[in-house]
């Protein structure tokens, strides 16, 4: 059943992905009296246990086991959930030259989930003294975007995110490593913090479709109306 939901989620994101390539490119406009969406993403009940990942190599450095970070729940609040406004073609400015940090740290990806705007670059670093390779796959069909070697410590490799959608990040050298980059068409995407909260600001007044996505729990789309200078609350509770 869960797999079924995942398939639907994947199919939806594929359709959204296809649709997006035909949509107009994002246009920066003056948003002087923008509104805000803020909220908390929660998990109802006991979250599924994160599997214990057994290190098959570099045990001396990585340790024997690491707990997976698929479900990060603190007092019922869910971290690492992507919240993004899907249908804004024009809005606030953003730093096109920003480098989105993405680290190979202690044999895991840090952060586990992040967002980037199409055209921005991911700054992949390796703070471990061992060989990592960062293998990015685009979309539900997991087409290789880049597979880069990171043999040396602390040398940031910048790679442009050219297409919108979910990017899955893996390391062939350490098969347990897993991360995600949500590449959005506009700068209105974020990831929930440790307390499950998020804020998206500078939104031109209007009614929008907001996507809430979690790697294991799938996605929901909610309609939200933003008023000039106002704050709209958007909470969501996932359950198993």
């Amino acid at each position: 059943m869960k797999k079924h939901i995942m398939h639907i989620a994947l199919a939806t994101s594929l359709i959204l992905g296809l649709w997006s390539t035909q949509a107009l490119a994002y246009k920066v406009i003056d948003v002087s009296n923008g509104g805000k969406i803020t909220g908390v993403i929660s998990f109802n009940g006991t979250p599924p246990a994160n599997p214990t990942l057994k290190m098959t190599k570099d045990v001396d450095y990585c340790g024997a086991t690491i707990s997976a970070d698929y479900y990060v729940v603190n007092n019922g609040k869910l971290q690492n959930v992507v919240v993004s406004i899907e249908n804004i073609d024009a809005g606030k400015p953003y730093d096109k030259k920003a480098i989105i940090p993405f680290d190979n740290k202690k044999c895991m990806f840090s952060p586990h989930v992040t967002t980037a705007v199409v055209g921005q670059r991911l700054g992949v670093n390796n703070t471990d003294p061992i060989l990592h390779n960062t293998h990015l796959y685009h979309g539900p069909k997991k087409k290789t975007m880049y597979n880069i070697a990171l043999p040396l410590k602390d040398r940031v490799i910048k790679k442009r995110m050219r297409k919108p959608g979910i990017v899955t990040v893996q390391c062939d050298a350490h098969e347990w490593m897993l991360g995600y980059v949500y590449v959005s068409k506009n700068p209105y995407a974020t990831v929930t913090a440790a307390d499950g909260t998020f804020t998206i600001d500078g939104i031109p007044p209007g009614t929008y479709k907001v996507k809430i996505w979690h790697e294991k729990l799938g996605e929901v789309v909610k309609e939200v109306t933003v008023t000039a200078g106002g704050t709209t609350t958007l909470d969501h509770t996932f359950s198993q």
């Binding site: 060989l131 796959y137 597979n147 040396l152």
Partner: protein, 281 residues
């Protein structure tokens, strides 16, 4: 300006040449001469022998002719729809990589382009011509024109080729003589860039990360045993190795090292000399 463009065109031709053929610096110089880039006294290469000079137009008729050739020779492994699921595919490899290429996926190992980019037409032509040791036969038996027709048909199987303008890997320098000093430098590069973590200290493909490597389709894919150059799927000439190291093998675990060699590309030629020094066959 016009001259600059001309020079750019020539260097691009030379680049394509070195990447595609794996030829040495001398040959490239000759190829350059034949392109009109050198003095009149340079020895001209019978350039009409170069398959890239016998290129035919990429049009519907040639794609269609390519299909007929494909259906005669390629369909057995690569399948009716190009998905790599032909009737013979199963016998080639069941649980281990590589399976016959899925031409609809748009993912190619053997490229002279950066990781994530589509291959060039010349890359496809080279693979069709040479084949892949141990897996795919070479099709030199087909005329140059027919091999181009196959290239065009294969390209028609993936929408990713449409409007693709792949970025080439940067080629700096040419193969250097495998002196003891160069091999020694190459050994240092092998250590520093941690090639040994997958390929092993002695190049036997038994590094500490070797055991779990898989390709994009989840099939087991052990790192190459560098002591067996004849088994290198992407070729074993220095220019072939340069391509493999810098472009990586997309779809497999071998990553691209082009970012890390940026500015020190000369070291790649040393590394290649070291890899060749491991040969035991």
């Amino acid at each position: 300006m016009k001259i600059r463009k001309h020079v750019q065109r020539i260097s691009r031709t030379a680049l394509t040449f070195i990447l595609a053929t794996g030829m040495s610096g001398t040959v490239i110089t000759t190829a350059l001469a034949a392109e009109g880039g050198m003095g009149a006294d340079a020895i001209p290469l019978p350039i009409e022998l170069s398959p890239f000079k016998q290129r035919i137009p990429e049009n519907a008729a040639n794609v269609e002719a390519g299909r007929a050739l494909y259906e005669r020779s390629c369909i057995w492994c690569h399948g009716v729809n190009g998905e790599g699921k032909g009737p013979v595919a199963y016998f080639l490899s069941r649980d281990t990589a590589p399976h016959p290429r899925d031409f609809t996926s748009g993912i190619y190992k053997f490229r002279s382009t950066l990781s994530g980019e589509m291959p060039t037409d010349e890359d496809l032509f080279r693979t069709i011509t040479r084949g892949i040791p141990g897996f795919m036969p070479g099709f030199r038996g087909y005329s140059t024109e027919d091999r181009w027709r196959l290239v065009y048909y294969i390209k028609s199987l993936s929408p990713d080729f449409k409007d693709a303008e792949p970025e080439l890997i940067k080629v700096v320098g040419t193969p250097i003589p495998p002196t003891a000093a160069s091999v020694q430098r190459g050994y240092q590069v092998y250590q520093k860039f941690k090639c040994w973590e997958c390929h092993g200290g002695g190049g036997a493909g038994n590094g500490k990360k070797a055991g779990t490597l898989k390709d994009d389709w989840g099939f087991r894919l052990p790192p190459r045993d560098l002591r067996r150059p004849s088994s290198f799927k992407n070729g074993n000439a220095p220019a072939d190795l340069y391509r493999t190291i810098m472009a990586g093998l997309d779809g497999g675990a071998m990553p691209s090292y082009s970012d890390f060699f940026e500015g020190s590309e000369q070291e790649v030629w040393d590394l290649i000399n070291y890899i060749n020094s491991l040969a035991a066959e």
